[in-house]
Every structure is written in C-alpha cells, then in structure tokens.
C-alpha cells in the first residue's frame, strides 16, 4: 500500500509537469501558426480536425486535468486509508483538495482569465505537495524497514 501511495503521489506530480509541458507546447504551436497567418477562433477550435499539429496539447491537458489527475488523486486518497502512516491521509486529502481547486480554477479561467494565473500558481503548489507526500512516505517506509514493528504498524 505504501508503494502504491508513493507511486500515485509521484504520478500526480509527474502529471502536473506533463500538464505544464503540453500546455506550453500547444501555446507555442498556436503562436507559430498565427505567425504564419493561421486563424484560431471558437469555430476552428471546435472543429473535428486539428488546424495545427500542436492542438493535441490542449486536448491532452483537458483529459489529464479532468479525468486522469482527479482519478489519481482519488485513488491516492483511498490508498492513504490503508497505509497506516501518520499524516498519509492528511497529505492525500491536501493533494485531493488542491486537485479540486485546480480544476475549478482551470474552468474559471475561461470566465476570468486572472483565475488562469492562479491555476498556474496552484499547479506549483500541487506539484510540491504531491512530491512531498511521496517523499515522506519513502521516509516512513525506510523507518519501518529499520523498525519492523514501528509505531505506525498494526499490532495489539
């Protein structure tokens, strides 16, 4: 369970990095396309095809952000109940809350672009917290190996 927790936490962090990468990839592609005389409006954006090759970046961002990362965060939360490591639940909850906030900010950014700026900032927070959650589990696991019946194990 601890390994699963660790892996999930690191996956969330990695996914945040992927999110930043695909978004900038998309924006860079958009910039290049506009420079070349391309036009992007809602009609083009919503069409079935891809007007420029970096469009999958924004699609991936949406799928990751709305499906994959919330799914990972939810799994992390469930796994945290079974790790029997102090604070594991707390940090999984924080990750989950930040993910929820992140999706909300992402959606809100369509209405209020400034929320998009907070979306970027919150991404850093989520990245840091997920990384920390994974790392402290590694520390706890290492401690448990040294002391097989550590205080967080489950004996009576």
């Amino acid at each position: 369970m601890r390994t699963a927790y660790k892996v999930l936490a690191y996956l969330v962090a990695a996914e945040v990095a992927v999110q930043a990468m695909v978004m900038v990839w998309f924006i860079a592609g958009l910039g290049k396309w506009v420079e070349g005389g391309g036009v992007l409006d809602k009609a083009a954006m919503e069409s079935e095809g891809t007007p420029f090759p970096e469009v999958p970046g924004v699609i991936a961002h949406g799928i990751n952000g709305f499906f994959v990362i919330p799914g990972l965060a939810l799994l992390l939360l469930i796994i945290s109940f079974f790790t029997k490591v102090r604070g594991a639940i707390k940090w999984a909850v924080i990750v989950f809350v930040l993910v929820v906030v992140q999706t909300q900010l992402g959606g809100l950014g369509h209405d209020f672009p400034l929320a998009g700026a907070l979306h970027g900032l919150n991404a850093l927070a989520l990245f840091g917290v997920a990384l920390y959650a994974g790392r402290r589990l590694r520390a706890a696991t290492a401690a448990a190996v040294e002391q097989p019946e550590a205080r967080t194990a489950a004996p009576v």
Binding site: V39, D41, K42, A43, A44, M45, E46, S47, E48, G49, T50, P51, V55, F66, F67, P70, G71, L74, L77, I78, F81, F82, K84, T103, G107, L108, G109, H110, D111, Q147, E149, A150, R151, A153, A154, P155, V156
Partner: protein, 516 residues
C-alpha cells in the same frame, strides 16, 4: 507485542477494539467514497431503448405573477396539471402539413458516406447528392416543400432537421423523437410549408455531432413573396472540415460578380460548433437574424457581428462605385468578395467593437405580450464533475443536473413562455430551440431597445444571462439544446413538450437512434 505497540495506545484503540477498528475504518472510509460514486455511476446510465418522455423530470415552470383570467394563483403549476383527467396523448407523428395539398417544390436528396477533398486534404465525411454542402434548396414563401431523403450509404442512418424553420413536429427530423433514423436503403419524406422567408439550413440530426461536422448539411433559402430589395443574392455556408475553413465547401474566398453600386444580400450560415465574427470593409446593414428581418436596420461601420453556431445572418453591402470590390470577412480565415471581374479589396482589420443586437434597429410590435408570461422557466447552464451515460468527467449541467436528469419543459398550446438562460459554465453555448422563434427581452438584466431580436440560435457567453420569450404555437416535442453538437453529445440536451403529447419513437432501440 512489542514495546512500540505498548508505548502508543490511545483513545478507543486502547480498549481492545483496536484491530477490528483498524481494519474497519479504512474500509468504511473507502466505501464512503466508492459507494456514492457507484450510485452516481449507475444512476447516470441510460437503458438500451428509452423515450424522451421518460428522460429527466417534468418542469412546469412558474406561473405568471399576474393571472389575467384569475383562475391560477401563480407559483408552481404542477398541482393544476396533475389533478386533471388527461385525455389520450396526441402523437408527434400527427403533426404534419396538410397531406392532401400537392407539393410546390419537390427535391430528392441522396446521402452518402464518402471521402471528401477539402483544400487538397482528404476528409472522411458525408455528401448530399454528391457534394458537401448539399444542394441549396430554394423555395418561395408559402410554397409547400417536399423533400425525399434517400440514404444510400450512411451506415449510422440519417435524418434531416430544418434548422430554424418552424416545421410541424413530425417533420423536425430528430432521430428517436420525431422519427426513426433512416437506415441505408431507407427513405423519408419531409413535407412542410415554407411560410417564413429567410435563410435556413438543413442537417442530419442522427449522430449529429460527427455527421454535421463531416458535412451532412445544406442551405435552405425561403424567398419572400415579393422580390428582395437587393440586386445580388449570395449564400455563404461557413463550415470547417477537419480543421479546414471553407465557404460553400471550398477552402478559399468566395468571389461573386456584381456591378459597381449594386446592393448585395449576403446570407451567412455558421454550420460549425463555435461562434464566428463577421465584418466588412465598408458600411453594412444587418437585414435579418435567424431568418427574421430586422426592423429598420441602419448602417453599421467598424463593428463586427457575432454569428453563433447554427445561426444565420443576412447582411447588405454595396459594391463600391470606384470599381473595387467589397469584402465580407467570415472570421479572419475566409471572405466573400463581391465586385466586378478581377476586382479585389484589402482585408479590413477586425473591429474591436461589436454590433449589439439588443439596441439595433427600431422597436416594432411583437404580436404578444411577454410582460405577462403564462409560464417562466430557468435554463441554467453549469459544469460539474459527475457521470454521464456511465462515463466519469466534468459535464455540462442544466439547472444543476446532469444528463439524463435534465428538465422536460412542459407547456400548453397558446401560452406565452419566458425562459431565463444563465450560463455559468465557463464556455460559450449556442442555444437552439427547435420549432419556435424566441425574442430576446433582456441580456444581463438590460432590456432590449432595438428591433425585435428573434432567434432560434442564441449565443450565450460565459457569465451572461438572457431573458427570452416565445409563444407556444407549434405543438409537439422539441429539442432545446446546445448547438455546439459536441456539447449536445455530452448531454446538453433538454426538451420542450406540449402537455398531452407523446412519441412512438425511442432513443437507441432497434433503429439505433442517437439524435446527438
């Protein structure tokens, strides 16, 4: 067991319940997350065949604050309706044009699934009579139009919906609501009187998201009984095939010949899923919106018009007398260029200001009094996590609920209906009510002061509210949905039904009807 475990007995765990509790707590916590999700998941699934009548919940709206005949008391009308003896339902299939009247215009349309070449690119798409867009249908106001649809090879089946025409319900072309999808080798005959002059279009309403995107559509123009005032009449169907912007199926500007000084009517139809901006080099007049004439339109300069997905607009421009052409930009990507042979015009910069139809033209009588509606509905568009058809995601909600738990707006014939649309979903939605035209009363609380602004496709931006009104004068069961057809496929579909109506058709089922 060890000194570690003895060192930290705490709370209830020290009373000897420790082990079972330690096992049970995580499981209970997990179940408290999983169980609601599982319930939501199963609740979002739809049967293998179902009637729109059983979809969602009836919304009877709120009665008028002032009741002219004094019989009602305002408030919710559910009680009044529920208490009555219901006569047997009328069927949507009964709502047809006069079957004894011969057709004035007969058109045969053959639909095929095939590869298209757009702008040199091969695109998997659809054709009507071998082309996409299909042939433009032209009729004169008052003529009875009879269209024979033959599906030659569209595997999923097809229908034709007459977007913007208030046809009798049985002719509305919605698979699973007003007819079964026409299978390969099948045929369907649409008959309706084209009694509203204006610019319309037709498109499939079976698996409509991919079929419309793939080009199963065409233009329908109903000419007024008298001649139009313009000397040149141009149709420009804007469509994006696989990312390639086109006008009338060609990935290039549309050149039309006209003499200097001639007035030109440009009928623009946006068949895409998102709004587009239209602007011109010189002044223009906005003659019509969604097939309804603007009352006393005035000259407009340096302002763009927003044409929502599914919407149409008729612009009047004049060919310059200096021998150059006039340019009508349909977004930055494509343009209609009208003038003498070889004439061109520079690309006009996109105006930052926009024509506000709330205050364009002059007021005119509406023909009914929206200040005293019989019924008022809310159509609040949101977005939230949940399940739709068993799939997790962040979905569009209508009045806080997800498909299929969406409202069925119930009205009676003759009622004056006001709908309050509110979009807090973060994306623009082109809202399209079938079978009716709605007049915009107010936007964001600001009342309309210009010409009556009649729409069938309304661009609702994030954060906007619209108050719109219509007269319930076309009985049946009508879709009231987002015309970003991807959004419709994601469940942004409600219906308007007249009390006492029913449909014999089923969504899904043996004909595999999938209107979205």
């Amino acid at each position: 067991m060890t000194r570690h475990s003895r060192r930290r007995p705490s709370g209830i765990l020290s009373l000897g319940f420790g082990r079972p509790l330690r096992l049970a707590l995580p499981i209970v916590a997990t179940l408290s997350i999983i169980a609601p999700l599982a319930w939501l998941w199963q609740d979002s699934r739809v049967p293998s065949a179902y009637s729109v009548m059983n979809m969602g919940y009836p919304d009877y709206g709120v009665g008028a604050m002032t009741d002219p005949d004094g019989s009602g008391h305002g408030g919710h009308m559910q009680g009044q309706m529920g208490g009555q003896q219901m006569p047997p339902p009328r069927l949507v299939t009964d709502m047809v044009a006069d079957p004894t009247r011969p057709a004035d215009v007969r058109v045969d349309l053959v639909t095929r699934q095939q590869m298209l070449t757009v702008g040199g690119q091969p695109i998997r798409g659809f054709t009507v009579n071998g082309t996409s867009p299909g042939p433009e249908i032209r009729a004169r106001q008052g003529q009875l139009l009879e269209v024979h649809l033959h599906n030659e090879s569209v595997a999923d089946g097809v229908t034709l919906h007459w977007h913007g025409v208030d046809v009798p319900n049985a002719m509305d072309g919605v698979a699973g609501v007003t007819q079964d999808a026409v299978p390969v080798g099948g045929e369907f005959i649409y008959r309706f009187v084209a009694d509203q002059a204006g610019t319309y279009w037709y498109h499939s309403h079976q698996v409509s998201n991919p079929q419309v995107a793939g080009g199963l559509l065409g233009s329908l123009v109903v000419l007024p009984r008298s001649r139009i005032a313009q000397q040149v009449d141009v149709t420009a169907v804007a469509h994006t095939y696989g990312g390639v912007r086109t006008i009338n199926g060609k990935a290039e500007d549309l050149h039309m010949l006209a003499r200097p000084g001639q007035r030109v009517r440009v009928r623009v139809t946006n068949t895409d899923n998102g709004p587009m901006k239209i602007w011109t080099g010189g002044p223009y007049r906005l003659l019509a919106v969604d097939g309804t004439d603007v009352h006393k339109p005035t000259d407009v300069s340096d302002r763009s018009v927003t044409l929502t997905a599914g919407g149409r607009t008729d612009l009047e421009v004049m060919v310059p007398r200096d021998g150059s052409a006039v340019r009508v930009q349909l977004s930055k990507a494509t343009a209609v260029i009208i003038g003498p042979p070889g004439a061109d015009a520079p690309v006009p910069p996109q105006p930052t200001a926009e024509l506000d139809l709330l205050a364009y033209g002059s007021p005119a009588p509406l023909g009914f009094d929206p200040a005293h509606p019989t019924r008022q509905f809310d159509y609040r568009i949101g977005r939230r996590p949940g399940f739709v058809k068993g799939q997790p995601g962040v979905w569009w909600s209508i009045n806080g609920r997800l498909f299929p738990h969406v409202p069925m707006y119930v009205v009676r014939e003759g009622e004056v209906v006001v709908v309050h649309i509110k979009n807090h979903s973060g994306e623009v939605h082109p809202m399209h009510l079938h079978g009716h035209h709605e007049v915009v009363l107010a936007r964001n609380g600001v009342a309309a002061t210009g010409s009556p602004w009649w729409v069938d496709s309304l661009n609702v931006l994030p954060g906007e509210t619209y108050d719109i009104a219509f007269v319930a004068n076309n009985p049946g069961i009508w879709m009231d949905h987002c015309h970003n057809l991807k959004h419709a496929a994601q469940g942004m579909v409600a219906h308007l039904m007249y009390e006492g109506f029913d449909t014999p058709y089923r969504i899904a089922g043996p004909s595999d009807n999938q209107p979205e």
